[in-house]
């Protein structure tokens, strides 16, 4: 690879260092590919003088290259993980350059979902930094003829105090590279007291690029000779083109041709949905040409899907015994005795992601190999689906990861990248597929619609003597297996099987539901509906039995203990139960902290105002949230204040973490106020922000206070866990203010706005 190519790549991947509009990608990368080599070692880190790990390299000028192998969609993982490397390296952050990895198995898992970037890569990043530091010390000690044990580091230099010698990392890089990479066991990690960046954090590496328009998102990727495509897809999942007429389309100025895309073979997984692509010289011409297409569709069996009827089906299923996924004691025996019981149905509709950047991808297929530039959360999944669609080896697919204009889980599913690759192969040139907002809303992998039936028997103090909960929702595995109808353990664990209450009789069930649209992960996923059902039902019981909701919640959580999941399939978000036990004491603690910070029970609430509380663990993080609302006579809801307390174990970047929880309250506000996707005859009814509104500045909490609990526990998730308890606490506050119990989302169904 020539120096020029290196610079080109560097510019593209670091984003923001060149003027917007000057970015032209393409042929520069191909000589290497055409030479028949596998995925090239092409990071600057790889080419650096000292290169002890795939994640970093140090050049003789002291530049430290750190590879961000996870995608950046606004959670700051692209900054925070390199910050961990820099801390263990004792590097000067100003001399660090971050470069974005392509999709490549050598980085391990790259699917930036599930709020686990820090949790899963914290140790790896520490070891990478510490290994380089170890080698730099070895080199300095050897040069100076002193024992390595007498040398230390201090912000980008190795020092030997007694002889007052010091050497910059750049000066040592070459010599250090001659030493063997030490085994992990020999490498010493810094003590907490010596941390420079961990726990203090840093702003986004891309901050300046983000405010100047220089940041490069998928929407901004360009390549020499590229054409633009817009695809008319089957309006019903599984539909096919019967016939089409493109005469009017081809008359549109700038339109070049139309290209059919084959329908997927079930299950859909990440395949293109099929349809007719309009190829044009610019995005707008492609959009215009598409409007002129005349297509006859064969809609297929999902044409019968109707949201209202489907809701009734889910509810009916939940009113009958379903599959037991966790049981303690004998709830039925208690219910059979008669006595006071309470029941409720909860419902959450389908939800769309609506990231601000609609889906988009640029691909070039040439000489049997494909190169893709995409705002993807999962570049290795791009490699997988593109290789399958084009019939080439995974290694012959290069996926460059741009910045993402939001992801929220949608951009883990690379159907849009597959479309671009398929079209590029057919066209013989680079093709950029641009989804409209309408496409983005209508062809999503929706968060599952869910119905939950809750029932409890209570004693004289209001404490439940028996508890039954059933959830029914089309499961995410249905996109990979058309016969999948039950929730899988990975999603039942999300706030359902792990009910943290201290109860003598408990039965948790899940019922079957067949999917008629693509179901997928959306920020906090099944926790959204599970926490809504459980935390609002808890609030209902508190009110029904005359108890204070906070006291009641703490009473149900019970004493600090570790939940025993014997007999329950509980994956614990892929983490070990030893390192991340389910500790009810931590849930209690955040609940008590948030109540105290808010001044629960101490503040006066006038007519039309109210407060609600909820607590929930997800992605291994414990969160409790208090929401205060005001509702006027017209049913307009304001949110003057939100307080949220979290225990996410060690927090590497507190500032970014606070931002995630502020954002979670806004995301949750959208769910509660207006979040609803429906279908009629299999066709999604919503299309853009006029009928799928998301929260605007005048609708969101006026003030969100975030309290991070100090914790020595290992790091856990922060991107998603703020959403579920906010939603429940918001709905509980609405009840406190109005006496209206929110059981069906969104609240427009109660005449509230």
């Amino acid at each position: 690879m020539s120096e020029i190519e290196n610079v080109s790549r560097r510019r593209f991947l670091t984003g923001g260092v060149i003027a917007a509009g000057a970015l032209v990608l393409g042929v520069r990368y191909y000589p290497k590919l055409m030479a028949g080599k596998k995925v090239p070692d092409e990071t600057n880190a790889d080419h650096a003088t000292l290169h002890p790990s795939v994640y970093l390299g140090i050049d003789p000028d002291g530049t430290v290259w750190i590879v961000a192998s996870r995608s950046e969609m606004g959670t700051t993982s692209r900054t925070t993980l390199p910050l961990v490397v820099a801390d263990e390296l004792d590097a000067d952050w100003k001399r660090v350059k971050i470069e974005q990895a392509i999709g490549d198995r050598r980085y391990g898992d790259q699917n930036t979902d599930g709020s686990h970037s820090i949790r899963s890569f914290y140790d790896t990043m520490r070891v990478a930094g510490a290994t380089a530091r170890f080698m730099l010390i070895q080199a300095a000690a050897h040069q100076w003829g002193v024992p390595a044990a007498e040398c230390e580091t201090d912000l980008h230099v190795v020092v030997h105090r007694s002889t007052n010698r010091k050497a910059d990392y750049g000066e040592l890089a070459s010599a250090a590279a001659k030493f063997p990479v030490p085994p992990k066991e020999e490498v010493k990690l810094k003590p907490k007291s010596a941390w420079r960046y961990i726990g203090k954090g840093e702003v986004s590496y891309d901050l300046e690029a983000l405010v100047t328009g220089k940041a490069v998102y998928g929407m901004d990727a360009r390549a020499d000779g590229m054409v633009y495509a817009s695809v008319e897809r089957p309006p019903v999942l599984g539909g096919k083109v019967k016939s089409y007429d493109d005469k009017e389309t081809l008359k549109v100025a700038g339109v070049r041709q139309t290209v059919p895309i084959d329908p997927f073979k079930p299950p859909p997984a990440f395949q293109p949905l099929g349809g007719i692509a309009v190829i044009a010289d610019n995005t707008w011409a492609a959009f215009q040409g598409r409007k002129k297409l005349n297509i006859a569709w064969d809609n297929g069996p999902n044409e019968t899907y109707d949201s209202d009827a489907y809701k009734n089906e889910l509810r009916a299923t939940s009113h009958n015994p379903c599959k037991v996924v966790r049981n303690i004691g004998d709830a039925d025996a208690v219910f059979a005795k008669g006595g006071k019981t309470h029941e409720a149905d909860y419902y959450v509709p389908l939800l769309a992601h609506a990231a601000m950047e609609p889906l988009v991808a640029l691909a070039e297929f040439r000489d049997g190999k494909a190169t893709v530039w995409a705002p993807t959360q999962n570049p290795q999944a791009v490699q997988d689906i593109v290789s399958k669609e084009l019939g080439i080896a995974k290694e012959d697919v290069i996926c460059h990861v741009t910045l993402l204009g939001g992801g929220f889980g949608r951009k883990s599913k690379p159907d849009y990248a597959a479309e671009a690759a398929v079209l590029s192969k057919k066209m013989g040139k680079p093709v950029k597929v641009v989804w409209t907002r309408e496409d983005d809303i209508k062809f999503d992998y929706y968060n599952a619609v869910a119905s939950m039936y809750m029932k409890a028997a209570v004693d004289a103090t209001g404490k439940p003597t028996a508890w039954l909960q059933r959830s029914v929702f089309p499961p995410i595995p249905s996109i990979f297996d058309v016969n999948a109808v039950y929730g899988d353990a990975a999603h039942l664990q999300q706030g359902w099987t792990d009910l943290p209450y201290d109860l003598p009789n408990l039965r948790i069930e899940n019922g079957p539901a067949k999917a008629h649209v693509r179901i997928g992960w959306l920020r906090s996923v099944a926790n959204i509906y599970h926490a809504f059902g459980i935390q609002c039902f808890t609030d209902e019981l508190a009110h029904a039995t005359g108890r204070d909701p906070l006291d009641y919640l703490l009473d149900l959580i019970g004493p600090p203990r570790t939940i025993d999941f014997k007999g329950v399939e509980y994956p614990n978000y892929g983490a070990s139960m030893d390192a991340y036990p389910w500790d009810t004491g931590r849930l209690r603690h955040v609940t008590e902290v948030v109540a105290e910070k808010f001044g629960w029970g101490k503040r006066k609430h006038g007519k039309g105002t109210g407060v609600g509380i909820a607590a929930h663990r997800s992605f291994l993080t414990y969160v409790a949230t208090v929401v205060e609302v005001e509702v006027n006579a017209q049913g307009e809801v304001r949110i003057p204040r939100v307080d949220t307390a979290l225990d996410a174990g060690l927090v590497v970047n507190p500032e970014a973490t606070r931002a995630q929880f502020e954002g979670a309250a806004v995301f949750g506000t959208s769910v509660v106020r207006t979040g609803e996707i429906t279908a009629t005859k299999g066709v999604i009814n919503q299309s853009n922000f006029q009928d799928y509104p998301v929260a605007r500045i005048n609708e969101v909490p006026a003030q969100t206070n975030v309290y991070i609990v100090d914790s020595d526990a290992p790091p856990a998730g922060v991107g998603e866990p703020g959403v579920p308890p906010f939603i429940a606490a918001f709905c509980n506050a609405i009840f406190a203010a109005t006496g209206k119990r929110v059981r069906d989302l969104p609240i427009t169904k109660l005449g509230l706005s």
Partner: protein
């Protein structure tokens, strides 16, 4: 031929007069700072200044841009250090950042007419700009910080 000025530079456009300004800026001129978010003027990601007014470029056709002075994020300040941009960095507003270009252009136009906007004035001026990451609380703070600097 449609004549217009983009970031102070004279341009002429001989294409479809119905093409929205956004696509001219992005696909023809390669000024990709202005973003496509909804295409119907509902999200504000495409906001630019047309003769100083915050305008949704996705619903402003080239015919109507004729003779106008267009300012995009690339031309807001030659060093990228408009008080609003500085405040956005100081308050650490962006998460994904995609909508922030439109937010910044909208806020900059607001501060040209309202030197000390109240919370309500900020909400009214910014309600057309969606941020799905939910950075609104920081947007309010940053607008106030920028107002302080511009005062």
């Amino acid at each position: 031929m449609i004549q217009l000025k983009v970031n102070g530079v004279e341009k002429s456009f001989g294409g479809e007069p119905e093409m929205p300004l956004l696509w001219y800026l992005r696909d023809v001129l390669g000024l990709t700072g202005s973003k496509f978010g909804c295409g119907i003027g509902l999200c504000g990601a495409c906001t630019v200044h047309v003769n100083g007014q915050a305008t949704r470029s996705c619903v402003t056709v080239m015919r109507d841009a004729a003779g106008k002075e267009i300012t995009t994020i690339e031309g807001l300040d030659k060093n990228g250090l408009h008080p609003v941009q500085k405040a956005w960095m100081q308050i650490n507003v962006p998460q994904c950042g995609y909508c922030q270009i439109g937010q910044i252009m909208q806020a900059a136009a607001l501060l040209e007419t309202k030197k000390k906007p109240t919370d309500q004035e900020i909400d009214e001026a910014m309600a057309g700009n969606i941020c799905r990451c939910g950075t609104y609380q920081r947007i309010r703070l940053a607008i106030k910080a920028a107002a302080g600097e511009m005062a």
